[in-house]
């Protein structure tokens, strides 16, 4: 990054430093965990500035919090495209939702994720008119392929795999081209974690090598060909043995425990990656770290609220809670 690029986020980073003060710490999460019910949690959250005291819809509350993060980013950054590494995931999700909505002729509302780079209605129009020139170029090929698969075979799983892989490829490419070390490292981890997740699910559902190869996205920290080979020839143990030779050696323990333990491990790794940004006064990285920290915070609160709603013991909820950024 040039000196000028380093300096152009001075105002934004200084504001983020103050905003970081309101992020939940481990003790805030412990306080929420000690609440007796979801209602009590919501009241405590209202005291901390999340929603209002009479808020009862936790999904709405969490969606509003996510919206607040992006509204802040729109104020701080002239062009949100610097965060395309984060935004592309929502676009591909919306494409998938549009194809399924048109295929099933469903009237379902609220299927689209906000904060993408493209208006979700455009995806709907593109699918209805079968005209993918309406959507960004990087999405056209996978959109056409997924459309053909969905409308001619009705295989929604394959449709999802095609779009998910294209999403990972786009995120990876965007992260690497961003010129920002943190975004590049995030894209690498995101792709590798998704590949590990996919391979374990493929083993459990007995998918063949062709399917696995079609699903895995390329990244530099994993050899997808070897990963697929290990899964097909030696199954779960083979995958763990291969991971033992990579930088994801410590994923073996959570993978042996459960998929939710692995997902928790992945989120904690992302937090570990972004923590040094608390002390970085320059570049886009502290802003990117704040977005990821807020995502992590919202995810943790969702787990907590859902645990309280379903009266899951505190010990079981605690196991699923993520590390916090502050």
């Amino acid at each position: 990054m040039t000196d000028m690029t380093d300096k152009q986020f001075l105002y934004a980073v200084a504001r983020i430093r103050t905003k970081e003060l309101s992020l939940f710490s481990k003790s805030d999460i412990d306080q929420l965990l000690s609440c007796k019910s979801e209602k009590e949690c919501l009241r405590l959250l209202a005291d901390k500035g999340w929603g209002t005291a009479d808020e009862t819809d936790s999904d709405k509350l969490l969606a509003n919090e996510r919206m607040k993060t992006w509204e802040l980013m729109s104020e701080l950054v002239k062009d949100l495209s610097v965060f395309n590494t984060f935004l592309y995931g929502n676009d591909y999700h919306n494409l998938k939702a549009a194809i399924k909505k048109v295929y099933t002729n469903s009237d379902l509302e609220d299927i689209f994720m906000p904060n993408g780079t493209v208006n979700p209605e455009l995806f709907l129009q593109a699918v209805k008119e079968h005209d993918f020139t309406l959507i960004p170029e990087h999405m056209r090929e996978c959109a056409e392929e997924a459309y053909q698969v969905m409308f001619y075979t009705g295989d929604s799983q394959l449709c999802e795999i095609i779009i998910d892989k294209a999403a990972l490829n786009a995120i990876y490419k965007q992260g690497m081209q961003s010129g920002n070390e943190l975004l590049a490292a995030y894209a690498e981890l995101k792709t590798a974690f998704a590949d590990i997740n996919i391979i374990i699910r493929c083993i459990r559902t007995g998918k063949d090598k062709e399917f696995i190869k079609r699903a895995l996205a390329e990244c530099s920290s994993l050899d997808t060909a070897r990963l697929a080979e290990a899964a097909v020839n030696e199954g779960f143990e083979g995958v763990l043995t291969y991971l033992g030779e990579t930088v994801y050696d410590d994923a073996q323990v959570p993978l042996r425990t459960s998929m939710s333990a692995f997902e928790c491990w992945c989120d904690n790794k992302i937090i570990e990656l972004i923590k040094p940004q608390k002390y970085n006064p320059f570049t886009l990285s502290p802003l990117a770290a704040y977005i990821l920290a807020r995502d992590n915070e919202i995810k943790t609160v969702r787990i907590l609220l859902s645990g309280k709603r379903n009266e899951i013991p505190d010990g079981a909820i605690r196991e699923r809670l993520r590390d916090m950024y502050v």
């Binding site: 001075l10 934004a12 200084a14 430093r17 103050t18 006064p281």
Partner: protein
């Protein structure tokens, strides 16, 4: 050589101009960086204005030092205050050289000090009670600007006494 001696005064004035100009540019950039970061903190918490302002102003001193060197140099050569006398090419070159530490170190230290100030403004945003410690870090950079100021003052005054 006679012709070259006509340029002695030009070199001396050039030295004075560089000391004020380059240090001033560095300070302007540095204070601007501190101001931009400070505005970010004030947007969220206006009560930190006083502390942030002091950190913002720290990189501004180099501009003042540059001005001081320019003023002394111009006085020495008689451009300010009258009594201008002919300055040889060698003496002019000496004046130019004497002004350069302030010009170069002034600019560089102002930018580096601004980096430290911006980082310290981040400390104030989170821990305003640590203002004293936060101010030490950018203040340390000032040492080198003061050293350059000192050597430039001594050199400019010393050159005035040379008979070359």
């Amino acid at each position: 050589m006679e012709v070259l001696n006509n340029y002695g005064i030009v070199l001396a004035v050039l030295g004075a101009v560089l000391a004020a100009l380059v240090s001033g540019v560095g300070s302007a950039r540095g204070v601007s960086m501190g101001g931009v970061a400070g505005a970010g903190v004030i947007t969220e918490d206006p009560s930190k204005f006083g502390k942030v302002l002091i950190l913002q102003l720290l990189p501004g001193t180099q501009g003042i030092y540059g001005l001081l060197i320019a003023f002394i140099t111009l006085s020495q050569i008689g451009v300010i205050g009258g009594g201008a006398e002919e300055i040889s090419f060698a003496k002019g070159l000496c004046y130019l050289g004497a002004c350069l530490p302030m010009a170069i170190v002034g600019y560089t230290s102002a930018i580096r000090q601004a980096n430290a100030s911006v980082a310290s403004i981040g400390v104030i945003a989170k821990k305003p009670e640590q203002f004293g410690k936060a101010m030490i870090f950018p203040a340390m950079v000032e040492t080198y600007a003061i050293l350059a100021l000192l050597i430039s003052i001594l050199a400019v005054i010393g050159v005035g006494g040379l008979n070359i």
